[in-house]
Symmetry: C2
Subunit: 231 residues, 2 copies
Amino acid sequence: MSIEPVAIKDTLREIPLFSELNIDQLKKITAISKTSKFRKNEFLFYDGDIYKGFYILLKGTIKVFKNSANGKEAVLHIVKPLTVFADVPLFEGGNYPATAQALEESVSILVPKEGFLSLIKAEPEMSLKMLSGFGRRLREMTNLIENFSSKEVINRLAEYLLREIKNNKTYKLEEPFLKLNVTKKTIAAYIGTITETLSRTLKRMQDEGIIKVNGKSIIITDYTRLKQLSE
Amino acid sequence: MSIEPVAIKDTLREIPLFSELNIDQLKKITAISKTSKFRKNEFLFYDGDIYKGFYILLKGTIKVFKNSANGKEAVLHIVKPLTVFADVPLFEGGNYPATAQALEESVSILVPKEGFLSLIKAEPEMSLKMLSGFGRRLREMTNLIENFSSKEVINRLAEYLLREIKNNKTYKLEEPFLKLNVTKKTIAAYIGTITETLSRTLKRMQDEGIIKVNGKSIIITDYTRLKQLSE
DNA sequence: TATAAATACTGACTTAAGTCAAAGGATTGT
DNA sequence: ACAATCCTTTGACTTAAGTCAGTATTTATA
């Protein structure tokens, strides 16, 4: 469902990819883009759908995942606002390589492929920005693979918690905390395990005095040990 | 050890990234590049080294890997000739994110960062090529992660074998085969397991009549089942 | 707010894959 | 050609984490 193309130019400015564009260039992008609202659990696109363009999330949370043959789902990203996603097929061609679903009411911009490619050719600086963004993500993926191949659930969970705390900027506090805004099922899939094991691992961490779990809130009581576990 | 800057312009042409450059542009690249020879087991760079530039492998095999705290190594790529590697930090800054080691006598070109970045700014088409390359690799990584998170060793091994057969172009034969040119230890790390488990899994596949192993040669006797296992 | 549905937790059990140890093969260098 | 080192295989054992089943708790919706 489409909503009014409000003054989203200021919002786009906050996205690294567009940060150095001038008003005219931003106008061109908003002119070709479409803002849409998605209800909870609604799908933005499915794995294999014909590629239309990339998205920028303005509000809400999007889960990007892939279903494998045995029925399990691998969560690739949990997308937070002001993040660009589904931009990989822009240059390579091909269909959407994964499925995207809103985990809560969300608003996102769709920037169509063809229009954007014309723009980028007139604006070579943007290619370099995108290369930098792709590079950063390749590095993240590299780390994810390293984690999957050589660490146990408790180590991957520790790393996930630390990353969340960094994102939420509470890591400077005496007792950093975080509030999960996604289900534990999603987190389990994201760190490559199942809910039961996640539940037991959280309990184990609590028993060892590293964290305190209260429903969807987690307080870090021993940051040092958590850091050790993540390395 | 540096070797003569022979006529490698023709070789560069075979690399997608450079395929559409003219003679002058290729000359510029070879002018700033340095070709080096590496002995078996020699290191090209270590995880954390200051970034000098990216490499193109001309001959041999390079293992790119990361060591985690618990001593295990995660093999990220097994690089074959005419492949560009270590290009991720070009745009993002930062040091080498992994270690590269020659698995046999190898020859590679080093293209220095600064020189290449000047070139690319004068040659915007090359940014798009690189974006396409990065995009393809992000996709590959996505699949790797999906594999790691939701499949067992036998499935990951099946997928590895199929990929190798595709690369060696023997998949059209009645009985496709492949010759391992890396140790089983490396393959084990690459598919996220250890030698003992790899050994047992190969044996199991042989017992089930899917493959025939003879030292470093593997013949596929039941392509269909192998394909099933990989999905 | 009641009821259904989805999510989370716990226990008993199973299993894939890791660790440890020992021995045979293959490679490498001197 | 030899020793020395590294690679590979095999067996016995351990363990992390998955499956299954039952229950509790939270969240959504009529």
